[in-house]
Structures are given as C-alpha cells and as structure tokens.
C-alpha cells in the first residue's frame, strides 16, 4: 500500500485541490454532447410514461464518475448486513450523499452534487455552484433554496440548532454568513480565512444524524414550525408520539428513517432502517454517469439485512450471503474467512488498512484529580515515555492483530502528505524494558515493595494504574492485559477494568478515567471535524488526554486545569492550520505530530491494521471495487470507493 502513490505528486495534488477547490479537468463538455443511457428498469418506466426521459432527469452537466476497471453493466442486488437502527452510519457510508466528496485515496476532494467550489483569493469567501438542472429523487428541482433552507431555518433556528457547529462559527462566535447568489449558486462568507472549507463540506452529509448542508426544502417545510400550519403540525407530532416538532422534523429528515424523504444519493431508501430488511433502490435522478454516458448506479438494489449480533453477520459473510461487507467484519475471523475463500470460492477477501493513526493506544489522563499523586505522575513526560518503552508491541501485534500492522505512534499514514517521517512515527516504540526501568528510577520511583512493585516516593503506597477498556471495538481487552503484563514487569502495578462502553464514555466525560485504550483514527484530518489532537474537542468520542483542559478552554480559564505549554501550542497550531494555505498546513500538521509524539501525549501501540472495517468480503463477480482504499470515517469508506460504479459481471 505504501508504495502505491508517489508522495511528491500527491502533495502537489492536495495543494492544488485545496487551493483551487475543484480538481480533475472536468470532462463535462464531452459528456454533454452525448446521449445518455439508463437502466432497463428505468427505460421501461419511461416507456410507460411514469418517468421523464433520462436526459431530462440528469443535470445539464452530469458528474462523470471514473470507473476503476471498466464501464459496467446494469443490474443486480448488493446484499449487505447491518446491526439495527443505531447502525445508520452504515447507510451514510454507502451512499455518501454530500455536495463534494473525498477521493478513493482520501487525499483530495472531488465535486459531486456541486459542479464547482471556488475560494476567493484570501480564502474568506467560498462560492458553491450546484449542477444546473439536478433533481431530488422525487423529481423536484435541486437549487440554492435547498441550501438556504438549511441555513436560515435549521442552522440559524435556535430550537433546532442550540449551538453552532465549529465550521459555521467565526472566531468571534458569530454565525458564518451564507447567501444566495443565483438559483444554483451560494456563497459562504467567513470573517477569517478558511482553508478547510472543502474538507468540511465533504462531511456535511447526514452522517451521525446531523442535518446535511442541503435539504429537500419543499418536502421538509411541512414539518417546520415556520412554514407548517400549527394545528396540523401539532397533530402530526402527537400521532408520531413525539413531544416537539423538532423531534418530528429530525426524524422525517433522516433518510434511513423515512423513505418518503427525497435524497440526492445514487440509491434511495424504500424501507426503513427499523425494518428487518432495509432496502435501497436506484435513484432515477442521480446526477452521475460513467464515461460512456450510462446513468449510474449500475446496481439496482441494495439490501441491508438486519443482524442482532455481529457474530451472525460474520457467519453470513463466510457463507457468501453478503456481496460486499467491510463494516462489522471482525479481524479475528480473517483466518476462517481466508480458508473458506480458498475452499468455497464464494467470495474474495481484500484488506483496506486504516488511514494512519493507531488502532490501539494507551492514553494517560494528565488531569486526573482523584489521586493527585498519580495525576502528577501522569503529567511527567519521562514517566509516559518509560511506559511506552516498556510495551512489547511486537507481541501485541502477533497476539491480537494476526501479525498485521506495525508498531507506531498516532500520526498520519506514510502515504499521506502530512506524514512526518519514520523518526516521529516510530519514536519510543522499541521494546526496551531496561531503558524503561532506568527512566523510572531516574524520576525517583526507586523504592519497591516485597513483590517488586514501585512505590510513590516517600510512602509505602504502590503506584497502581487502572486501564479502562471497552470490549466492543477491537481486541482491546486483550491488548490491555498484555500492556498490564508489560508494565508490571517494570514494577508498575496495573489493573485492567473492562467496562461497558456507555459507562466508559460517561467516566471519560466526568474525568474519572485514569487511563484508557482507544484508537486514534482521523489522524489525516487534524484541522477538520473533531480532531483527537485538539484538547477542546474532548467529548465522548475523543481521547482522555486531559478532560480538565477542555473545561479550562470552555470557561475561558476560570475552571478546569490550565494546560501545559505544549498543549497550548497544539491548540494554536490547529487554529492556524484552519486558515493557513495548503503548503503551510502540511508543515503545521508535521509540527503537530512532532509535539504529540515528543511529549508522548498518547502512547501509540499498533497502527495501519485493517481493524476498523478493513477486512472486506467481496462477491467475486463484483467489479470496479478499488483494491486499495483510504479507509476512515471522514472518507465515508466505502462511499469514497464510489459504489455507484460497482457492477456485477
């Protein structure tokens, strides 16, 4: 994987893309002169007069989707598994319904529903142009009004949006201005330069049940208090057992919960995600075509089958009952999958390793307050480095990751332009128990008790670290036990607490975790979304490096704990990164990683494994699936593999 992209060229592309907004010389002109073709099932409906002809359904400048291997053929059902209504991101990842989207390798942003996104010279104004004549899946026009509805009635409505999301907030806290230029053009006006706009926009689909930045305004107005008849709206709210119209609006807006809601995606829901079988059917108005002028998608139907248990889903994959599945495939089943692959030939298995970062890290809570002595120890950089040296990463790799991946620190992947080099990525990852012992002795932890455990200086109290770990996401409980064994070997008593994930999250939130095992994904996106390097984003889903630092930032320095200089520097870097030009961003990201690793903010263990949705089971007849792929949540994997151009041979 590492050798597949020329890094120099890549940096060039990224820089170009981020600066200019649009990539690839668009072959629109070429496509326009063509006549378009459509799926047989749609052609039938056109003949029956139920659907306008394909040329009228497509925008004037359709998106031409490059195919991985060849132009495909229509038809087929894509069977996939899901774990219930809470698993709706499974849907969002497949359809990736956004104005712009990340490329398969994850290093640039391509146009999708927008035909162009152009920054002003100073990066304060971004002009988004939609594809002219594009239509929602119900045939109604897709226009600037659909963005303005989102801006005026969702984002600026305090009932619906109690707090402005970071990307729509100027530094002074005011809302970013969005204005309509013409029917298909909208401008975002920032007070400061913003160089991350495209990357943010690429994640403004409905993922995580957020409101996308473009909404079917015509459909949704009937659920919005500003437009709907009050009595009628109240009745709808009561009938659906909701308490407020906002709840109703949110539920009706979320495509997997409401098949009636028009979408712009290649497939639209035909049933609900709360059903046993969640079915998506082709969108006759999808904006994408292949290079031969065939309207996409190729595959007719996606069938998500409900599994109450991931184990049963894995068995179904092994039985060849799923045509493409990456999500919920457990890495430990890889050997069984491979053996059956050779035997039954019902599927093939490929790997999409994670997009940098780590798949397991130990994080020490530097603002741990319940035991101040322990908290002080966690603040000691040498203590953290010693603990890093004490870990035998190769054993962990062999025992828990089948020998896949590599020992590394949580920094961008080697093929990513932000990669800071092996000197940083591999720093402190060697297994050197003697060095760990020496460092621990050097910081004054020399006294030990009868069982060989180190004591707090000047006391008879053992230093005891508790690692909290959640059994849900990866082989983390096993890793925790191996880490505990390693740390005990250098005299640090370690207890593993396996916790229910809700409890773990709760404790992380309330600053009650001493340390945890978690992964550091999204390392390729330090300036957008919810970067794990930013202490201010510490909330539920991020690492427990220092929960009280967040309180300090939130309260303007009145509460919580003041972060040390290096943490303040991290915050500074992230903020400058948001408005720095792309070349500077590369430099800033590298400095960020350097500080993160030098100060051992997070003890990285193993990375670049296919742990997170990286073991991919494929129907052998399924074509155009890229053999390598950037795999991360911001990329909406497998959505960035452009599933609309997958087809069955």
């Amino acid at each position: 994987m590492r050798g597949r992209l020329d890094r120099g060229a890549l940096v060039g592309i990224v820089v170009l893309v981020l600066a200019l907004g649009t990539s690839i010389p668009s072959p629109q002109a070429m496509a326009q002169t063509r006549t378009y073709k459509e799926a047989p099932m749609l052609a039938e409906q056109v003949r029956a007069g139920k659907l306008p002809p394909v040329a009228q359904r497509l925008p004037e400048d359709p998106m031409v989707v490059p195919t991985v291997e060849s132009v495909g053929q229509y038809g087929g059902v894509w069977r996939r598994g899901f774990l219930g209504p809470g698993d709706f991101n499974n849907y969002h990842r497949v359809v990736y319904d956004a104005l712009v989207r990340y490329s398969p390798d994850g290093t640039k942003v391509d146009m999708k529903l927008a035909s162009s996104v152009q920054p002003s010279r100073d990066f304060t104004t971004w002009t988004v142009r939609l594809r002219k004549g594009a239509k929602w899946s119900d045939g109604s026009p897709f226009t600037a009004d659909d963005i303005m509805f989102w801006y005026n009635d969702i984002l600026l409505n305090k009932d619906v949006t109690p707090a402005l999301p970071g990307w729509m907030r100027n530094r002074d806290g005011s809302a970013v201005v969005v204005r309509k230029v013409d029917d298909i053009t909208v401008q975002w006006v920032y007070k400061e330069a913003n160089t991350t706009f495209l990357m943010e926009l690429a994640n403004k689909d409905s993922g995580d049940r957020q409101f996308a930045a473009f909404l079917p305004s015509r459909y949704l107005k009937r659920f919005h208090a500003a437009y709907a008849d009050k009595a009628q709206l109240d009745r709808m709210v009561a009938d659906a057992k909701f308490k407020t119209w906002v709840e109703l609006l949110a539920a009706r807006n979320h495509p997997p919960e409401n098949p009636e809601r028009p979408t712009m995606a290649a497939w639209v829901p035909a049933t609900r995600i709360s059903d046993q079988l969640f079915v998506l059917r082709r969108n006759p108005y999808y904006v994408g075509v292949d290079s031969a002028g065939n309207q996409l998608p190729y595959i007719d139907t996606i069938q998500f089958k409900f599994f109450a248990d991931a184990q049963a889903l894995n068995l179904a994959a092994i039985a060849g009952q799923l045509d493409q599945q990456d999500r919920h495939i457990n890495i430990v089943n890889y050997p069984v999958l491979k053996e059956r692959e050779a035997k039954d030939k019902k599927y093939r298995v490929i790997l999409w390793p994670t997009f940098g970062g780590t798949d397991a890290s130990v994080i020490l809570n530097q603002t741990y307050a319940k035991d101040p002595e322990l908290g002080r120890l966690f603040q000691n950089k040498d203590f953290r480095i010693a603990l890093s040296y004490a870990i035998n990463r190769n054993e962990i790799k062999e025992s828990t990751f089948l020998g896949l991946g590599e020992p590394r620190q949580p920094v961008a992947a080697p093929w990513h332009p932000y990669f800071p080099g092996d000197a940083v990525a591999k720093k402190f990852t060697e297994f050197r128990a003697d060095e760990a012992n020496r460092m621990l002795d050097a910081i004054g932890l020399t006294r030990k008790d009868a069982e060989g455990f180190r004591l707090f200086p000047g006391t008879t109290r053992r230093i005891t670290i508790e690692i909290s770990v959640v059994p849900a996401f990866g082989p983390w409980p096993d890793i925790a036990q191996l880490v505990a064994k390693n740390w005990q070997a250098v005299g640090i008593r370690t207890i593993v607490q396996v916790r229910d994930r809700a409890l773990h999250f709760q404790m992380r939130q309330s600053n009650d975790l001493q340390s945890e095992i978690w992964n550091n994904d999204t390392s390729g996106f330090p300036f957008t979304g919810v970067p794990k390097y930013d202490p201010r984003s510490l909330l539920y889903g991020t690492l427990t490096t220092g929960p009280l630092w967040k309180a300090w930032y939130d309260s303007g320095g009145k509460e919580g704990a003041e972060p040390p200089a290096e943490v303040k520097r991290l915050v500074e870097l992230i903020d400058t990164g948001k408005s720095a030009n792309p070349q500077q961003q590369v430099r800033i990201a590298k400095e960020l990683f350097q500080i993160w690793v030098d100060n051992m903010m997070e003890i990285g263990i193993i990375g670049l494994t296919p742990m997170v949705q990286g073991v991919v089971v494929l129907n052998p007849r399924l074509r155009n699936v890229p053999p390598t792929l950037g795999n991360d949540w911001p990329l909406r994997t497998p959505g960035n593999a452009r599933p609309e151009q997958w087809f069955y041979r």
């Binding site: 491979k338 054993e395 025992s399 896949l404 036990q481 229910d500």
Partner: protein, 382 residues
C-alpha cells in the same frame, strides 16, 4: 425384611448378629441412614467423587495448574490439545510431544507441527511458578508439570489466542464457577425454605405478600438487574468482591422457585395427619415447622438445590456471554466460554470449547448426586 429373616433363623448366634444389625439400623441417625442408602447408588457415588475432585481444585487451583493462568506468549497462541504418552517402551515415562508453530502467510492462522520424536517429559509434583496455598504458605510444587519450565512447557489442553495455558485457566475458572453456584444456592435455599415455609404453613396475608413478592421477583428479567448491578457496584472493588456481590444478587433472585415449591409442599403437608397430630399434641407452630414439616421436605429441598446449582452455573455462563457476567481478567467458566464464543474458535480452535465440557460434567455430577440424595432421603422410597 429383617423380621422375616429373624423368624427363619435357626440358631441363637445368627439371631443375635441380625438383631445387632437391626439395632444398628434402628439406632442410626437419619443422616446415617441416608448415607447408607446413598452409598448403594453407584452413579451418585461416582458423581460425588467427581464433585469432591472439583472442590479440591477449588481449594488448590494453583497446585493443579501447570502454568500461571495469565502467562501470555504471542508465539504460543492456539496450540491444540496435546496427547500425553504414558509409557516409553516398558517404562512409565509420561511425556508430551514438542510442537513448533508458524503463521500461515495466506490465512494468517497459527499452524502447529507436532514432533512426536522430540518429547517433553511430564511428571507429578514438578516445580513451577510460585504461589501461596490457601494464603498460608508459599511453594512452587505443582501437581503436574514439565521439568523445564522455561523452555519446553506442556500444554495439555492447548492454549488460547494469547498463548495462555487452557488447563491452568480451567483450574482457576473451576474455582470461581463452582463457588458461585455453591454460595448462591446456599443463600437461596435458606431464603426459599424460610419464606416458602412461612407462606405455605401460615397462609393468609403473609402468604399473599410473599407470593406477590415472588411474582415480582420472578417477572423481573435478570438482564437489566445484571446491567444495573455491574454498573452500580463500586469500580474499585477487586474482582473477588464483585463476584461475591453478584453471587448474592443471584441468590436474592433465585430463591423464588424454591420458595414456591416449598410452599406447595407445605400446603399439602398441612393437611397430613401427622401435622394435625402434632398440633393436637400442643406443639408450637415453629416447632411443627422446624421439627416435623421441614424434615419432611428435606428430600425435596436437596433435589431442588442440587438442580439449582447447575442452573446458576449456566446463568453465569450465559450472562458472561452477553458480557454482563464476571469479566476478564477474572477467570470463570463463563469467561472462558465467552472468549471462545466466536466463529474463529468454533471453526479453527474447537478445543477452546472444552470449558463447556467442564460445565456439562459439573452439572451432570450435581444432578446425579442430587438424585441419589433424594432417593436416599425419601422416606417412602423403599
């Protein structure tokens, strides 16, 4: 029978010995009688021995372990069970073959080659890791083991994904699981007998209250209680304490079936003549319950409680499967089974399901002993 033989006896000497035996019977306590009858039940006796063995392991898990149950080694993952060869030629020299493993480059599975020619000798009372016996003194003598602890270890029942010795983990799991069952059942029996007895004997509003309480307890599914408890127990408790608390909870919920059964028995016993006789003779109620009615339901109590132990053991494993029971790093049969509950194990490492066999054996043994005891204690049996 004895009477019959006495009449037929031709000489005084024989009559004397028979009457001695009869005297022995008539003088023997109830429990002695039960024991004599129990002894005749061969399967129950065998099961009793099995249970004694189990509880010996419960007392000395480290002694019976060949290795430390937490010892991990990445290079020793997924070793299959090893066949012990007892003899070499004609000499008793138990040994296991050496194994060498390598990861299959395609499937990434650990594959082990058995080398029957190079063997690791195994012997009794070998030296191994140091441990404390019942918290009293320290030793490194183990029941079984290979001499060369560092280089060539024996993995009788194979290893798990972290290269931990399954045999040793089973020994430690046995301690936890067998204790859970025993403590919880003891508590439930006490609760069930007392409350069920009161309910059945006194009837009236007491009965009403206790019966409704039982209904409430029985209709509360265990899962949410479990979820709530595991979360509500203080996080800094050591595993043993958590495990004890969980056991108590199990008992608090588990006594209801027993309670209902005792009540049912009492309801019918209350109508029996001997209770009436006792009442007429002026016995106090508590005396009637304790001296006359409880003994009459003892057989039933025993049968039900021996049946309850396996149910508890299974509920421990089931809850652990959901990730709600005893959690690693504590070891129990449930934990071991939970770690084995995946396709990978069922398909490629079936020996890790062996803890299931232990569960089955223990449950079987409890049931057989329970049956034997019930038959032996049943006054109408023979």
């Amino acid at each position: 029978m004895a009477d019959l033989r006495l009449e037929q006896s031709p000489g005084r000497g024989l009559a004397a010995t028979v009457s001695e035996a009869e005297e022995r019977v008539s003088l023997a306590s109830n429990w002695k009688l039960i024991w004599w009858r129990f002894r005749k039940h061969r399967l129950a006796m065998i099961s009793g021995v099995v249970l004694i063995l189990f509880y010996t392991v419960v007392l000395f898990p480290d002694f019976f372990s060949t290795q430390h149950p937490e010892d991990t080694d990445a290079r020793l993952a997924f070793i299959p069970t090893q066949r012990v060869r007892l003899f070499e030629g004609w000499r008793l020299r138990p040994s296991v073959p050496t194994v060498t493993g390598r990861r299959n480059p395609v499937t990434l599975r650990m594959e082990w080659q058995v080398d029957e020619t190079k063997r690791i000798p195994v012997r009794l009372f070998a030296r191994g890791y140091r441990y404390r016996v019942l918290g009293l003194f320290e030793t490194d003598i183990h029941f079984l083991g290979s001499d060369d602890v560092d280089q060539n270890r024996a993995y009788l029942l194979g290893t798990d994904r972290l290269g931990r010795d399954q045999w040793s983990r089973l020994m430690h799991g046995t301690r936890t699981s067998m204790t859970v069952g025993l403590i919880a059942v003891t508590l439930s029996v006490i609760l069930g007998a007392v409350l069920g007895g009161i309910s059945g004997y006194f009837g009236g509003w007491l009965d009403l209250v206790i019966q409704r309480l039982i209904e409430i307890l029985q209709s509360v599914p265990t899962i949410p209680i479990w979820l709530a408890m595991t979360a509500a127990l203080p996080q800094d408790w050591p595993p043993q304490k958590v495990f004890f608390a969980i056991t108590v909870i199990l008992a608090l919920i588990g006594w209801t079936t027993l309670g209902r059964e005792v009540r049912g028995r009492f309801l019918s016993l209350r109508e029996e003549d001997f209770v009436l006789a006792a009442e007429l003779a002026g016995c106090s109620r508590s005396r009637i319950i304790a001296r006359h009615m409880l003994p009459a339901v003892t057989s039933h109590l025993i049968a039900t409680s021996t049946l309850a132990i396996p149910v508890l053991i299974i509920s421990e494993t089931s809850l652990s499967y959901l990730g709600l029971g005893i959690r690693p790093p504590a070891i129990s049969w449930g934990v071991l089974l939970q770690e084995a509950q995946n396709i990978q194990t069922v398909a490629n490492a079936p020996w890790l399901l062996l803890p299931g066999a232990f569960v089955i054996i223990a449950v079987l043994a409890f049931n057989l002993v329970g049956d034997g005891l019930r038959d032996a204690a049943d006054p109408y049996g023979h």
